[in-house]
Amino acid sequence: MEEERTNLQEHVDGAQARIQHLLAGLNRVLLGKPQLTEHLVTGILAGGHVLLEGLPGIGKTELVKGLARLCAITYRRVQFTPDLLPSDITGSFILQEEAGRRDFAFQEGPVFTNVLLGDEINRASPKTQSALLEAMAERSVTVLGQTRRLPDPFFVIATQNPIELEGTYPLPEAQVDRFLFKLRLDQPGADVLSDIVRNRVRGLPPALEPVLDLASVRELIQLASHVYISEAVAAYIARLVQASHPSDPTAPPLVKQYVRYGASPRAAISLASAAQAQALLRGRVQAGFDSVTELFAAVMNHRLILDYSARVDAVTVDTILSAILQAVEPTAKPLPAGVR
């Protein structure tokens, strides 16, 4: 272990080069969104699931496909519809006849993959949505009492459409909490759109060559977990999460007024993991305060449950998260007032 630490900086340096290749490829797939691709890769390195929210045609599916292609990992896509059944995702036992003997054999569903793209996940019924709970949290599925491990790594990258909410089922909080990030894909600007029009042939994705393989991805995820989180950074994360609870004395007034439930401890773990992954992405052996601040909104924006008054007063989650960031001192002890 000591040797591993000694060589951690070298490993990180090597990993950063490969990650930069991955990012470069993703930026070719999704033009003009370098921060989003960085967050997506950060989520993958943190071993978390990502919820993409954006209008149709923004490039969500292409982004996930490109990620799978660049990482050379298995990829499956499920279009969530109201009549989709849980077994359609997890798989089911089917009757098979082999050598004259009939037997039930388990037919794996699309969840048995490295990257599962759940397209328009909010269109499936809650029953089907909940079929993903165990897979996302424990990376296993249980069918008829038999638990099966999912491939390692396993990511769920789900998309949901913020419009056409009729006939949709909002994701249960338990499931939303299992997503590491909720990333919003905004409409690209005119210059980016111009690049897309000029460089993208309709129906054909950009030609991508894998820059990683399955082992590399596993190694990177493993390496990200070894990135050091100092006690100061951990304490900062804890203070931020704690301040999201309206009952906490350090919570800013906006939280006390508009937030009904704050973030869970899982949110703190997710934020720490994301900070570690971003440190790896930036070639550091330690997670930094800057990463925590930068990723705070992406990690927390789907975990706060707001009061109805927030909607009435048009207060968004982003406003509240900004207020939390401003209210929480980055240091454990505030500076004395008498110094400058």
């Binding site: 000591e2 630490r5 000694t6 951690l8 900086q9 050091y228 989180i229 100092s230 006690e231 100061a232 950074v233 440190a279 550091r284 052996v285 330690q286 997670a287 930094g288 305060f289 800057d290 990463s291 980055p330 240091t331 454990a332 002890k333 500076l335 004395p336 007032a337 008498g338 110094v339 400058r340």
Partner: protein
Amino acid sequence: MNLDARTSSTLMPALRPLLRRLNAAVWLEHTLPALSVLAGLWATLMVLLKLLAPQWLTAGWASAAVTLCAPLYGYWQARRRGLFFAPRDGAELADHWFRNDGQVSAFFERPALYPGLDIAAFHTQLQQALKARSLRLRPTFYLRRLAPALLYVSAALLIPPRPPQEDPTAYQESTRALIEPIVQRLEEHKDLLPHKRLQEALADLHQLQESQDRLTREKWEALEQLEQHVQDVLDQSRQATTNVAEALRDLTSGPGFRENPLAAAQNPQFPAALQDLKELLNLSSADLPPGVREQLQSTLQQLDRMCQGESRLAGADRDVIMQQLEQLQEQLDSLLQNLEQGAGALRAGRGGRDRGRGDAAMAYGQPQPLANPQFAPDRLENRYLNPEDLVDLGITLLRPEPDPDQFSPGTLQSFDTQRGQAVSRTRISPSQREVVSKYFSERTEQGE
């Protein structure tokens, strides 16, 4: 988890100045409120002592030492609440000011993570970053927080202490010292003074005596006025008695009056003289002593009857009249003598309003024989000039240097050569003058 065990000491030289300032600021932040409160309480105590018990002011000043507890309290409070910046907190703060990427904190906690790090360069960069954000204590900030307490303490110290409460009996004593001679004088001459005026004067003196106020200027002047009034009454009484006595003497010293008063009464001038005496009696009846007035009226009635030649006056009656006249004359003479003594009762330094007090010119009254017991020689040890203590200074053009042991502190030396000769004068206090005056008058009487 023992933080110290895995604390990196390599960062301490860079962190130490930062920690020193931060902890000083924390300590000040907790000391100043306590200092303000203690200083305020002490100032309040001083105000109360000044107003209620000035004699305890020394102890009040000593109690200012309590404010020294404020620094200890501030340190204890900050330590109890864990507000002092530990090296780890300093590393965290430096991390934010350096690159905000967690490197300083991580290096502080686990230096082994950075085996290839150039420590010297890292220190240099860190020190530059800290220098750019170097903390400075703001004196104005602390002064502003301390200002209310300072103002309050200053105001409290400026309040003058209440003068010590004077003993009302002391006022009464001093008043009594002034009143007693007047009362004594009234008692001496109570037979000479009209009863009503005597009672009024005694009532006024009693009122002044009972008053617990200090000896004010008004009271002093009232006493002097009263004394002057007594003197005026005595003077009037003396004048009236003198007039009556002279008129009576003129009446009875006529030719043949002693041998045959009845025949003398038939003298045509006698009724006119008697009438003058009556009118004089009427005019000055208020000023005459009470007993004399009645007796004089009775005698005048008999003289009047004698003047009218009433045959009822037998020889025995004439003897009685003559005896009464002689008694009356003696009484008037005695009365006059007493009044003359009263007129000379003014004392040195008590010259009344017109002549001022203290070192005013002395009035010795009428010359008195040395046999008067009032003037009995009295040797005053070590206070006043004695013949054997006198030193002949001689005549000199130089200012004589008085021997401080030979002069009492109350003397005042003066020396001038304006008139062509050196004159050395020694002025002495009024209380000594009487003694000196008595001494020299005694020597004069003895022809020395």
